[in-house]
Every structure is written in structure tokens, then in C-alpha cells.
Amino acid sequence: MDARDDHVLIDVRNVVKIYRMGEVEVPALRGVSLQIRRGELLSIMGPSGSGKSTLMNILGCLDQPTAGEYYLDGVNVGELDDNALAVIRNRRIGFVFQNFNLLPRTTALQNVELPLIYAGVGLRERRERAIAALEAVGLGDRIHHRPTELSGGQQQRVAIARALVTHPSIILADEPTGNLDSKSGKEIVAIFQRLNRQEGITVVFVTHDPEVAACTRRIIRLRDGLVESDEPREADCVYLEPEPAPAEAGTPGSLT
């Protein structure tokens, strides 16, 4: 991964998103600008209706802005067609959802392999990379379990492995601890912190949980479709594991 810390990964310029509900136009984002650099660990917070889900959908290339520009790694996403967006989602973005969104009746391994299938990666390499990703989240011994055979925390770890496996530029985590008890939630946040510090992976939490946000180094608050505050808090970040984390036994050397 590119080591330049100041590299601007995400550049959102005055993005507006308006939903049409029949005759009525509902503005969800009314001119949001923000930049995210490679290697950041940040939270986007805001009450419901503040536009944070809309912003996440746009950042994740699931949706496109009505106006304004969104550059991901220098590419103007607003100009891309459906297929190109699918490719970007596949190569550059990893999603982690509140409700895990794993395929049922499908093993952990197969779930993690899924993005690689659409990336056209061959069977053998796919398997190796998926196993490495599952080991990185501490599920090396559960690769053949189905989601119903895993706890919530384990399911979310499978989801993280799935997000990691394509070496994305950024992982977007939408309320990743929302469906978990506090112990599992902390474990999940700790995994993200470790991935961010050890692998330099850029992680964006979308959350309304202050405890989760406290574990990040920057908090962007949205209100009524606008950025209310953008607060760097390097010093206050709560680390759930001691720093610097030495190379643990069982952690693979590198995912890249």
C-alpha cells in the first residue's frame, strides 16, 4: 500500500443528493465537502435523517451525487456508469454492515471468496487469499462454518474478512457494532484499529455510538445534510489494544 500519508484518498466537493418522492424533492445532502487521507481512522456521526447513510452510499459508490463531485483515488466517480461503479466497489471499497449481510447457507470461506469471484480471481488464489483474510480476523478455525453456526461477533468478523480480501482502498463500516453486545462490539472495533495501524487500511465508521466514535482519530458530524463539525482528535483516540501492537503469533505478515 502506498505509504504517502498525505495522499488524499477521498475528495468530496460540495456534494448534493436529492431524492424525489413523487412530486416532492427531499434533499438528503445539501453541499457536503470533506477529504479523507490514506490511513485515516474516522467516524461519521449524526442523528437519523442527518444524511449519514446517504453519504455512506455515495462514498461506497452504491449511489451517485445529484450535484457536486466525488473523487476516489483521483477518479471522478460521478462520471462512471453502472459497470464501472461495480468494478470500483469490487476493487477499492470494502463494506461492513450493521446486520453483517452474509449470504445464508454459504460457508464463511465462500462468503469471503465472493468479491474475488467477481474480480475474476482464480480458484486456488481465491481460496488462499480468503483463508488469509479469515485468519487476519481470527477465524482461521471457522472457515467452513455457515453464518447460522457463528455468533454475531464471528459473523461480523467474516464480513470484515470479506471487506478486506480485495485489498480495498477504504473500508466503510455502517454501524458495525449495532447488532452486537458490548464485548463483541469492542472486539470488532479493536480489529478495525489493528488493521488500520498494522496494515494502514483506511477505515470509516458510520455510527451514532459515541463509544465507537471515541475509538477513532477524527469525527465528522453531520446535521441536516451539512457537515456540522469536523474534529481531529488524534490525542483522545481510545485504543482498545496496547500500542504499538507487536507482530502477534498467528497474525499473517501482510495482507497486501
Partner: protein, 414 residues
């Protein structure tokens, strides 16, 4: 290629996740394909049977019927006014070249009686030449002779099946006296089995001298001038290449004899065995297509079943589609996945259907004595192609609906 293989894997996994539903959906296709194959093979069998039994009548035959067949094929119709008599047969015999034998006959139904058994069957009053012309040979006794014809002897020759139905096993038929329409006749011969008797009558006939049939059995079948009628003249031509010229010769002779003006239509019909085969071939061909079409409808219904299930499946798996799209599946990937599912359903169904269809054809073959069902490679190809087309056609709409889903809404779907 990679995509296809992966899509196939994904599709198979999707189908095996819901085995009962997949099996039931396939059942529609299975029944449809099996019906197509069985019915086509039965139709083909009927066609073969008709052709072979027409061929078994004899070789190089022309038939002269009274009246004009207005239209060939299914709507065959005779004008009633016209008739044929022995004079026509004599004229043909004397004036047309390249004829080996000619056998006029008068045909009707008659009650044949022996002891307490009475059987209603086809009676043919004819001349001795009818035997060689129609390939009838006596198994026991003799065929009709010129003397019988000349003297008007009340003698009868029986088809083997009629004889076996009429007489108890311990009675030797030759020399027995039977009653035909209550008139006593002496049995002089029993015919060899003719085989291929699709019309049932070839081995069930009773034959008597033409003169006896005309004078004693059907005295009322006469022309307005009082001449006894005949119903058909069988003409055997010496070789295949003279068929057309003999037919033309017969036409000339009869037109002259019937004093037809040049503008008049023929009041008789000369038809060859080949014509008959082609006419019946057309009829049975239509029958086969008809049977196939009926079976095709059930295949169509099976296809609608596939579409229905695929639509349900797409709705049910909306979230799955959303997940796939979120991790980078293109529209094409989703389309392919669901299309392949539909195709796999229809093709596996088709494969089972072919097996069931062949089994069905074999059962029909076993159950019917005369019919040999014919499974043609074309029928199998047709069924396979049709089931694939059904899968594709009825799969494309659900698949494209899946492919067009908005990923955000799909992910939110409960």
C-alpha cells in the same frame, strides 16, 4: 469462460439450497419433454405402420375408383354419380399396355356365420388375379380359380385371422360350410398372414368370386342401366417406370368409354400406391405435428412454472442480490446467475424428460401389438432445444429484473 463456470457453480448452489422447489419446477419440464418425446414417437410409429402396411398390399399397384376425388388428403370426397363396371376393367385389360394383372372387385360388409359364431367383416368379391396382385397366398387349400368365377360357385377364401376366430381350434376349415349373409358357401382356402394389418381388415377378409358377389350377395348394387357395379379395379403394372404411362392409358380408355367431353372432369380416379402412401403420410404427419403441439403446450406450461419460481426466487433473494452488487457484481453477473439457474432447471428437467419420454415410448410399444414406436434423434434434439429455449425465454425476464435491482434498496430489503 471463468464467469460461466462460476455462474454455473453459484446457480447450482442456489438450486440445491431449495431442492424440493427445484424438483417440482423441473417436474413441469420433465412432463412436457416426456410428452413431446412419447407423442412424437407414437406419431412416427403410426406413420411407419401406415406406410409399411400400404407397401405390403403389393407392388407397382394402381387403383381405379369410381368418382372423382375432389381434393387429395383429408377432405377426400367422391362424387356419387359415377360408377365402374366390368366393362371398364375389360377395356383396361385389352387396351392398355404394360399391365401384368388386373383385378376388379366389389367390396362390402357381410355377416359370416359358422355354427353359433357370427362375425361382421369385409367381403371382397373378386377374380383369381386378386391373389397375386395383392400378395394373398393360401396357407391351406386354394385361392379362387377361373372355374369358380365362370360357374358362379359359392366358395369362399378366408383371411387367417377371420378363420381362427370363426372356427374352433379342432375344426379344419377347408371343406366346411359357412353362411355369408345367410347364403351357404364352401370354404376352399385360408390365406397366409399378411402382417402389418394396421387397418385390421387385411387378415379379416372373406373373399368370394366376383360373379357371386354381384349376383347373389349384392344384387342391388347396379348402375342405372342395370349393370352390376364394381368398387375398385386393382391394376398391377409390370415395372415402376411404366406407372405414369399406364395411369395415363387407363385415364384415356375410361374417358373414351364413359364418353366424357374434353371439358368434363374425370368421373373416376386413378391413384397409385405411392400416392396413397404420400396421402396417408401427410395425414399421419399432421397427426404427429398435432400430438407434438399438444405436448408442446405442456412444455410451455412447464416454462411458465420456471418463470414463476424464478420470480419468487428473485424477490426472495433480493438481499442476496444487494450483497452481491455491493461486493462488485455487475448487472451481467447477476443476469447470468439467474439465467443459468433457469437454464439448469430446464435442461436437467429436459434430460429427465427425455429418459421418461423414451420409457413412455417403450411402454406404448409394449402395450400395442401392431405399433412400433420410433424415437428419432430429431425428437430428442427438438425436446432438448425446446426446453433450453423455454428456460432462456422464461428465465430472461426474472433474471433481468434481478440484474436491474438497485443495490441500496436491495440491501435494505427485509
Amino acid at each position: 469462460m471463468m464467469y460461466l463456470l462460476e455462474s454455473l457453480r453459484i446457480a447450482l448452489r442456489g438450486l440445491s439450497a431449495n431442492k424440493l422447489r427445484s424438483a417440482l419446477t423441473m417436474l413441469g419440464i420433465i412432463i412436457g419433454v416426456a410428452a413431446v418425446i412419447t407423442l412424437l414417437s407414437v406419431g412416427q410409429g403410426v406413420q411407419t405402420l401406415v406406410t409399411s402396411s400400404l407397401e405390403s398390399i403389393g407392388t407397382n399397384l394402381l387403383f381405379v375408383f369410381p368418382g372423382n376425388i375432389q381434393s387429395m388428403g383429408a377432405g377426400a370426397r367422391f362424387t356419387t354419380a359415377a360408377y365402374l363396371t366390368l366393362r371398364d376393367a375389360d377395356a383396361i385389360r385389352n387396351e392398355v399396355a404394360n399391365i401384368t394383372a388386373i383385378a376388379p372387385s366389389l367390396q362390402g360388409t357381410a355377416d359370416v356365420e359358422y355354427g353359433k359364431t357370427t362375425i361382421r367383416t369385409t367381403l371382397i368379391g373378386t377374380t383369381p388375379e386378386y391373389g397375386p396382385v395383392r400378395n394373398y397366398q393360401p396357407a391351406d387349400g386354394t385361392f379362387l380359380t377361373p372355374e369358380h368365377q365362370a360357374t358362379g360357385a359359392r366358395v369362399a377364401v378366408l383371411g387367417w385371422r377371420l378363420a381362427s376366430k370363426l372356427f374352433p381350434p379342432d375344426v379344419y376349415p377347408i371343406g366346411q360350410t359357412i353362411k355369408i349373409n345367410r347364403i351357404p358357401f364352401r370354404v376352399i382356402g385360408v390365406l397366409k398372414e399378411k402382417g402389418g394389418g394396421s387397418f385390421g381388415s387385411q387378415d379379416d377378409v372373406v373373399m368370394v368370386p366376383l360373379s357371386v358377389a354381384q349376383q347373389r350377395l349384392y344384387p342391388n348394387r347396379r348402375s342405372p342401366a342395370g349393370e352390376p357395379l364394381i368398387s375398385v379395379i386393382d391394376v398391377q403394372v409390370d415395372s415402376q417406370k411404366h406407372m405414369d404411362s399406364v395411369a395415363a392409358g387407363i385415364t384415356d380408355v375410361l374417358r373414351q368409354l364413359h364418353r366424357l367431353k374434353p371439358e368434363d372432369d374425370n368421373d373416376f380416379t386413378v391413384i397409385s400406391q405411392a400416392d396413397l402412401i404420400s396421402i396417408f403420410g401427410q395425414i399421419t404427419g399432421v397427426l404427429t405435428i398435432f400430438l407434438g403441439a399438444i405436448a408442446g403446450i405442456s412444455l410451455l406450461v412447464g416454462g411458465i412454472g420456471i418463470m414463476n419460481i424464478m420470480l419468487v426466487s428473485v424477490t426472495e433473494r433480493t438481499r442476496e442480490i444487494g450483497i452481491r452488487k455491493a461486493v462488485g457484481a455487475k448487472r451481467r453477473d447477476i443476469l447470468l446467475q439467474f439465467l443459468i439457474e433457469a437454464l439448469v432447471l430446464s435442461l436437467i428437467g429436459g434430460a429427465f424428460g427425455i429418459m421418461l419420454g423414451i420409457a413412455g415410448a417403450l411402454v406404448v410399444d409394449r402395450l400395442s401389438a401392431d405399433l412400433t414406436t420410433v424415437i428419432t434423434p430429431q425428437a430428442i434434439l427438438l425436446a432438448t432445444g425446446f426446453s433450453a429455449a423455454v428456460g432462456l425465454f422464461f428465465g430472461i425476464y426474472p433474471a433481468s429484473r434481478a440484474a436491474r435491482l438497485n443495490p441500496i434498496e436491495a440491501l435494505r430489503y427485509e
